[in-house]
Symmetry: C2
């Protein structure tokens, strides 16, 4: 599988809590990182445990899946029960048909800086 | 140009402040959105003005560029003088060889929730 197919399968198996199927996509030495918190998890066993233990009734819904021979990316809607509903992004590195790195980004709402109101509309 | 080539050219021309070259990549009715602030800018003229007016000595350095016939994405390092140094993400929609939509994500640092320290290391 190239990176795009791996990313699509990753999203599907994660949503399905198919932990054995997910493990088949991962290099045993996969590295998971969240640059915003400077957190890193090493190894597919620990990374899958992290997902199994993640609290709440979470769901991921892919919006954009892209990939080439080395890199992939996933834009997804992330919901947790009725308390969270956001877009998030994961980047992937791939080698020899397995995912070797997952990098997650969790953008939070913020108030825009002043000075661009003359160009911008806001929704909702 | 497919989406990948458009994204690569977009990053290069934005960094070069090549506003005419940038305009050539954009559909005149391009839509720019920041989901985190619910801001939207309509039209290539206003979107280029937004970039021209963006304050500070900003630079973008592409880290990952991906794309197919319809969608593209850019992971980039964003620096503003010595005050900001972060990773950010843009997604692109493309039609008829022009960028029709740009969606930006600006993830901010945050403190990780408790409960996963047994799986995680932190850097720096």
């Amino acid at each position: 599988m190239n990176a795009k197919d791996l990313v699509a399968a990753f999203a599907e198996r994660l949503e399905a809590r198919d932990w054995e199927g997910l493990a088949e996509l991962l290099d045993p030495d996969v590295v998971y990182e969240i640059p915003q918190t400077h957190e890193r998890i090493r190894g597919s066993d620990r990374y899958i445990t992290f997902n199994i233990e993640y609290p709440g009734e979470w769901h991921i819904e892919p919006k954009v899946v892209l990939g080439d021979d080395h890199d992939g990316c996933l834009l997804f809607r992330w919901t947790v029960g009725e308390s969270e509903d956001a877009l998030a992004i994961a980047f992937f590195e791939v080698a020899a048909g397995r995912i070797t790195k997952v990098t997650d980004f969790w953008p939070e709402p913020y108030e825009p800086p002043a000075g661009r109101e003359h160009l911008v509309e806001r929704w909702e």
